[in-house]
């Protein structure tokens, strides 16, 4: 399969990025060092080009009805300029994708979906559509995530809009660096900051303006490597690792965005799971001894019986401890429970912990 290139491809190559195949795109995984990039976002400011993400417009008089049917979350209380996290349940107990809905107006919404799922989501939403107008604008949009404690100070230099007034999970449509865009107080790092939805033709100018504005804070471009460790430190799920077509969203801890205040795809089964509990639960795990957990490693008890499976794992660049998300048998899921993670045929002492890890 031919890999697609994101619009700012040449800029990343020029900055020395290592480009790797990801979800059908050539994406920057690292510019300098995973750790350095990670810490730049935790302590200062960094910019991710995540233009591989998909954007769908859902509009018309039937937009809300359609979204209420396909989304696990309840959009009836969403106000204009507000965003909401949720997922698309499938009809057999799993998850088609997780996504964010932006409400532009009563009859216009934007969905932001995972790159690897653009085609699958489009097919699914088209099948479930209750009469809304759907438009895939993924190829027209450059998405830059400007994240970190200095993100606001950096971007504030480039816009007259008061960014302090944009609350978490809210957005505005305004000029930044002289270009109209969506400025959204969202992100996947837990470090604060904004995501900018920019027209492709404006992207180079905006990128350059952001780096000039952020120079005094030692702004860095950040690759997908650090994006993964940043989200893992916060305990955020990654589709394809921690949730997928076969995982229960209730077991994955997505009950908080599963609202039985309305009917939606597979609501009956999910309600039953929520009431009766699931066999496994997604939890945070931390290595007590030395070692780094990885996707696919087994969680075992002291007799080496398998009690769970790691779905995401790495080392925290902040604490230097091995951290993971994994499914573990219900009953063993409580923070403080001592378990082992099997690393190269050795049982490494670990424990269940609350997330975020930092």
């Amino acid at each position: 399969m031919d890999l697609k290139r994101i619009p700012l491809h040449e800029i990343h190559v020029g900055l020395g990025a290592k480009m790797v195949p990801f979800a059908g795109y050539e994406m920057p995984v690292r510019y300098s060092s995973d750790k350095e990039e990670h810490l730049a976002v935790r302590n200062g400011v960094g910019v991710f080009d995540v233009s591989h993400m998909g954007e769908f417009m859902v509009s018309g008089p039937k937009a809300l009805e359609t979204l209420q049917w396909i989304s696990s979350n309840d959009l009836s209380k969403l106000t204009e300029g507000q965003a909401q996290y949720g997922y698309l349940p499938n009809d057999k107990g799993g998850v088609v994708d997780d996504f964010i809905t932006y409400k532009m107006s009563d009859e216009e919404y934007m969905l932001v979906v995972n790159a690897s799922n653009i085609e699958k989501d489009w097919t699914w939403i088209s099948e479930q559509n209750k009469g809304a107008t759907l438009k895939n604008i993924s190829d027209d949009i450059v998405l830059l995530a400007v994240q970190g404690p200095k993100a606001k100070d950096t971007l504030q230099k480039l816009t007259k809009a008061d960014l302090s007034a944009v609350k978490y999970y809210h957005f505005i449509e305004d000029q930044l660096a002289g270009k109209k865009m969506i400025i959204s107080a969202t992100g996947y790092t837990g470090a604060g900051g904004f995501e900018l939805y920019i027209q492709k033709k404006d992207a180079t100018a905006v990128w350059e303006a952001i780096f000039e504005a952020g120079a005094e804070y030692n702004i860095l471009p950040i690759g997908l490597g650090a994006r993964d460790t940043l989200r893992l430190e916060m305990g955020f799920c990654l589709y394809g690792n921690d949730i997928d077509d076969d995982t229960s969203p209730i077991a994955a801890g997505l009950g908080w965005v599963t609202k039985f205040t309305k009917d939606f795809v597979n609501a009956g089964q999910l309600k039953k799971e929520k009431e009766e509990g699931t066999e496994f639960k997604l939890v945070g795990l931390e290595i007590v001894d030395k070692g780094i957990p990885r996707h696919g490693y087994r969680i075992v008890d002291d007799e080496s019986n398998i009690i769970g499976l790691i779905t995401s794992g790495s080392i925290s660049p902040v604490t230097n401890k091995g951290i993971a998300l994994g499914y573990i048998k219900s009953g063993l899921h409580k923070p403080g429970t001592e378990v082992n993670i099997e690393i190269r045929n050795k049982n490494i002492k670990s424990k269940v912990v609350k997330t975020p890890f930092i």
Binding site: K18, V29, R30, S33, D34, K35, H38, G225, D228, T229, K290, G291, I292, R294, S314, I315, P317, N320, R344
Partner: protein
Amino acid sequence: MNIPDNLSYTEDHEWIRIEGDTAFVGITDFAQGELGDIVYVEVETIGDEIEAGEIFGTVEAVKTVSDLFMPVSGEVLEFNDQIESNPEVVNSDPYGEGWLIKLKITNKGSKLLSPEEYKSLIGQ
């Protein structure tokens, strides 16, 4: 890409510096660049005699883990202790301070690559 002329290489992206019947082994500049930040090297085979191509340890980077393979047959004599407290030296100086093990060669075999052969392997 740094590929010193005085070393031999393997298809597993390791280098070996042979000094009589002993040798030093590490990973190449290319390998450390592919792996990213190295955070931990595990070698628990000191004193073991291991065949060429067999695993003598593992290297853990932030994003990935990779096995380490014997470039020649021999006995693992020593692990570079400095890496325990300072694993980033494998990134910053892979051919020098970042060496991984010292070994006693029992059979050199015939699979080692010259610097030129290694260069073409990684497309340089």
